[in-house]
Amino acid sequence: MAEPTCPLTGLQAVDLYFMEQRAKLLDIAAFLDRLDRVGPPSGRSDVRVRALERAIPLLLDGVGSRTRRILELLSDHTSEPIPAAHGQGALGADPATDY
């Protein structure tokens, strides 16, 4: 167990945050259900959804530092600058990673 750095007790933290997390969990479930109801092409093969599905097990693997590890999973881990920038946006998951 990590050294406490948050002033709340466990019960206080659950009382304060549970409903918000319940709603977010249901949003993820509803998003995946929605993908079951869309027309082709299936969103399931999209790199962003595959990355999301790879990230979800990290929530329950018992290792800790979940946020950092999920952010790392979603990141580009190459080290060299790309030859040129085409466009300015980002996807939220690394398109070159085989999730």
Binding site: Y17, T67, R68, L71, D76, H77, I82, A85, A90, A93
Partner: protein, 275 residues
């Protein structure tokens, strides 16, 4: 409580936002030069933008008792054309001595391209040559980890004093590297990307309260100019004392920004902040 929002793009916000921020306790803002949501067609567009940052916004802010400071640069999203970027960079020195200018920013990387990196290195050199503070934008989402590493390497190669550089938009996967290298770290409170107030307080609980600040980075996209005081509420509801919000949003910004002699908000003169 009095606070500083050290990264907000007020050119994209309404005067009502200044009023609401003042009512919430904001005494000073610092506004980095950034991407307007479209690529500007000429360097003259940047000259007008720099005038807006150094002339118009300080007057607009002063009407609400808020001190307005700014940072100048060409942002990484418009740095892919080095010729264009160098024409804009040539404009910067004539604005650097204006009284509300703190330094060079927000420079950095966006897609981590070679040209972005070259222009970043040249703007670091401008800051070095003029002995100015640096505010750094780190890339979004999947590009942030790699971009942060490239940026820190460029700063190390330039032998810049890390105590005079703030690396902004850190998240859980980049903050440790930034702090361990001696740089300052900024957390941006965005509704959909970057940090929520809850995560920002988590990060402070995990990595400490030294060399960290929070900002709204309020701009023309989904963002909240009151994100900083809302994060203070998150601190309070967890049971943190007022000293935490004061350090993160007043003492720390004051310590970093006061390295520039231009940073002297009237509200921080003796007597203003005492009850």
């Amino acid at each position: 409580m009095p606070y500083i929002d050290p990264h907000i793009h007020m050119v994209s916000r309404t005067t009502d936002d200044y009023a609401r921020m003042a009512e919430a306790g904001c005494i000073a803002v610092t506004e980095p030069a950034f991407w307007a949501g479209f690529d500007r067609s000429s360097p003259a567009g940047f000259a007008d933008y720099f005038r807006q940052l150094t002339e118009t916004e300080p007057h607009r802010a002063a009407r609400y008792g808020i001190a307005h400071y700014c940072w100048l640069c060409i942002n990484p999203k418009e740095a892919e054309d080095p010729g264009f970027a160098r024409e804009v960079m040539a404009l910067i020195p004539e604005f650097l001595d204006r009284p509300n200018v703190l330094g060079i920013g927000e420079i950095g990387l966006n897609k981590n391209s070679r040209n972005e990196l070259v222009i970043l290195e040249e703007q670091i050199e401008i800051a070095r040559r003029h002995d100015r503070l640096i505010l750094v934008h780190t890339p979004h989402l999947e590009d942030k980890l790699k971009g942060t590493r490239l940026i820190l390497a460029a700063l190390r190669n330039a032998a810049v004093d890390p105590g005079r550089v703030l690396i902004d938009h850190v998240e859980e996967h980049t903050i440790k590297t930034v702090l361990d290298a001696g740089f300052w770290a900024g957390m941006t409170l965005y509704p959909d990307s970057k940090c929520t107030p809850q995560r920002a307080v988590d990060v402070i609980e995990c990595y400490g309260r030294e060399r960290i600040w929070i900002n709204s980075a309020g701009d023309w996209g989904p963002s909240d100019p009151l994100a900083v005081p809302k994060c203070h509420v998150e601190m309070r509801r967890r049971g943190h004392g007022p000293d935490l919000a004061t350090q993160i949003s007043l003492t720390n910004p004051l310590t970093f920004l006061s390295q520039c002699p231009n940073f002297r908000p009237a509200a921080l003169e003796p007597g203003w902040l005492s009850p």
